[in-house]
């Protein structure tokens, strides 16, 4: 099992905390009416997944994200301020307010896009992996997807294609037990997403996504496998979303007792304890790290709130790229 250094543990904690605090901030902003549109789909409870996976990625590795994408975007290296601006529909956002929460992405850090269509990102990641092989780089492509996304035909086609073509794509299933209101046992016969890997003949594993050390070790092995073997790999993290699908979801489909059990496994809180005890990082260091994250949040908030909205006269920009003779890319 991959062991963490003290330094790495602190970094990982920061990555998870950034996600947690970012999402809490979004939740408040949404409830106070400052985020327009659909309630953002929050990642609270699942932080160990994105943080662990992205920990092992290079800047030029690709990720493809989902409707629940803030965590992936942050972990891959995006700035909070421009993300908050995006989610509030501001011109300074990563997508100049055109995308919003569901389409947020910072392409400069390798994020090729969140997605509003369940499972639609999977073949796109396969294509990015194909491209890495084609261009003879050492990049890999990572695709995050939910447990319920594995029921979509696109999942099947993408995984199969990655398998037959031997492409370096890491398939990261965030099994949080629900697709909207529907429990996994109603939609997946074996309740185990990685079982589906069998038919494609690819390597796979299932791990505890609430245990940060376990997640970290499994993520490291998965990333190494894909990069070294240039083959697909499916890693399933067993996790839980602490809040509703969106803010208006009253979670009538699950019990408060079930939730309480999972809340006990909070990856952020538990890992904080762990790094204090097992990794002997002193609490001053942690507190200063936490202060930095708080400052990032408040600076980000201020940036986003102070930023202007887009100009309506520019609404039709960027539908098409200007054609340059000889091609544009």
């Amino acid at each position: 099992m991959k062991k963490m250094s003290h330094q790495e543990a602190a970094e990982l904690y920061r990555s998870m905390l950034r996600i947690r605090r970012f999402e809490e901030t979004c939740h408040e902003l949404y409830l106070s009416g400052k985020i327009p549109g659909m309630s953002p789909h929050l990642y609270i409870g699942e932080e160990a997944v994105a943080a662990s996976i992205c920990f092992f990625l290079n800047k030029d590795d690709y990720i493809i994200s989902t409707h629940r994408g803030h965590g992936h975007c942050l972990a891959k290296g995006a700035r909070m301020d421009r993300m908050l601006a995006e989610i509030m529909g501001k011109e300074t956002g990563y997508c100049k307010g055109r995308g919003g929460s569901m389409h947020i992405a910072d392409v400069t850090t390798g994020n090729l896009g969140a997605n509003g269509i369940v499972a639609a990102g999977l073949p796109i990641a396969v294509g990015a992996a194909l491209s890495a092989i084609y261009r003879k780089t050492n990049q890999i492509a990572v695709c995050f997807f939910g447990d319920a996304a594995s029921n979509q035909g696109t999942f099947h086609e993408a995984v199969n294609m990655a398998a037959v073509m031997n492409l370096p794509v890491l398939l990261v299933c965030e099994n949080n037990h629900y697709g909207l209101s529907t429990p996994i046992k109603k939609t997946c016969p074996t309740c185990n997403i990685s079982d589906k890997a069998h038919g494609y003949g690819i390597e796979h594993t299932t791990c505890d996504g609430m245990d940060t050390e376990v997640s970290f070790a499994a993520a490291g092995e998965a990333v190494d496998y894909v990069r070294d073997k240039k083959k697909p790999y499916l890693i399933e993290f067993i996790t839980y979303r602490f809040l509703g699908h969106g803010a208006s979801d009253n979670r009538s489909y699950r019990t408060r007792e079930e939730e309480a059990q999972w809340l006990k496994k909070c990856p952020v809180k538990n890992f904080r304890k762990k790094i204090l005890s097992d990794y002997k990082i002193d609490s001053a260091k942690i507190e200063s790290l936490e202060k930095e994250v708080e400052e990032e949040v408040s600076a980000g908030l201020k940036f986003a709130e102070d930023s202007p909205y887009p100009k309506p006269e520019e609404v039709m920009e960027n539908i098409f790229a200007p054609a340059a003779p000889g091609g544009g890319q």
């Binding site: 307010g97 569901m102 909207l180």
Partner: protein, 325 residues
Amino acid sequence: MSIMTYRDAIRLALREEMAQDEKVFIIGEDVGAFGGAMAVTKGLYEKFGPGRLIDTPISESAIIGAALGAALTGLRPVAEIMFIDFTGVCMDQIVNQIAKVRYMLAGQVEVPLVIRTQGGAGKGYAAQHSQSLEAWFCHIPGLKVVMPATPRDARGLLKSAIREPNPVVFIEHKVLYNEKGEVPEKEELIPIGKADIKRTGKDVTITCHSRQVLNTLSAAEILSKEDGVECEVVDLMTVSPLDEETIFNSIKKTKRLFTVEEGYENNGIGAEVIARATTKIFDYFDAPPARLAFSNCPVPFSKILENSILPDTKKIVEGVRKLLS
């Protein structure tokens, strides 16, 4: 008459039809105990149980295909696709299977099947959750496409859709769900294929459907008060097959045509209405027809951008003024 929301009126239609015909069932994502992502089927599960409200995996092709298999074998499925944008993942089942199977089999089968879905912009849901893709389905022979604007129409048309022996794509509007209106206590069936004149007028015919009927009626009110212009508001209700007779009779009277829709402009409903009218009753036109649609642009997230290209009352008023000037 009782006053109820568009959502409640749709649910009423479902409840009534499920009660009167046990062959009717609902299939889709989260439609059961949860009551649907738009809360339309809420309460039906308690009444009719899991056998008639069938929750599915996120597998739209399988939902639609399964509905077709059920329709071919004696049932009357109502399949729900959560957002019309998601029909992209199941278009084959809708247009190559459902729409064509009766024709390909030369009438050996009937396909009594409703696809309920919802579309429309105006809520800041961005490019993949705000589209109005009715024109896609109107383009395909073998489908009827129904888009009610009011609670009463929604209930009456959905009941007719469920009783149709043919596939109906029934498209609701996300912004309308909480809109209230009168709905008759007693059963009412509103025929598919008929437009409804929601306001009579002599100066200009405005065709519209779904949410834009409400904006058009507001615009007509303003134009009447401020300009003394009397608009005839033709709510298409069924966008395919179009009710040419009602549309043409109105144009023959007003001599002018303005079309309003929320879908993309290119190859939209307005294009078809204008093409039919100008090819068939050209000589009645006293002025060029005009259309208002969503610009040929993906739906942007930021409200200020979305609003700038989404048809609304003000844009309709301006458009009609320009047409009349």
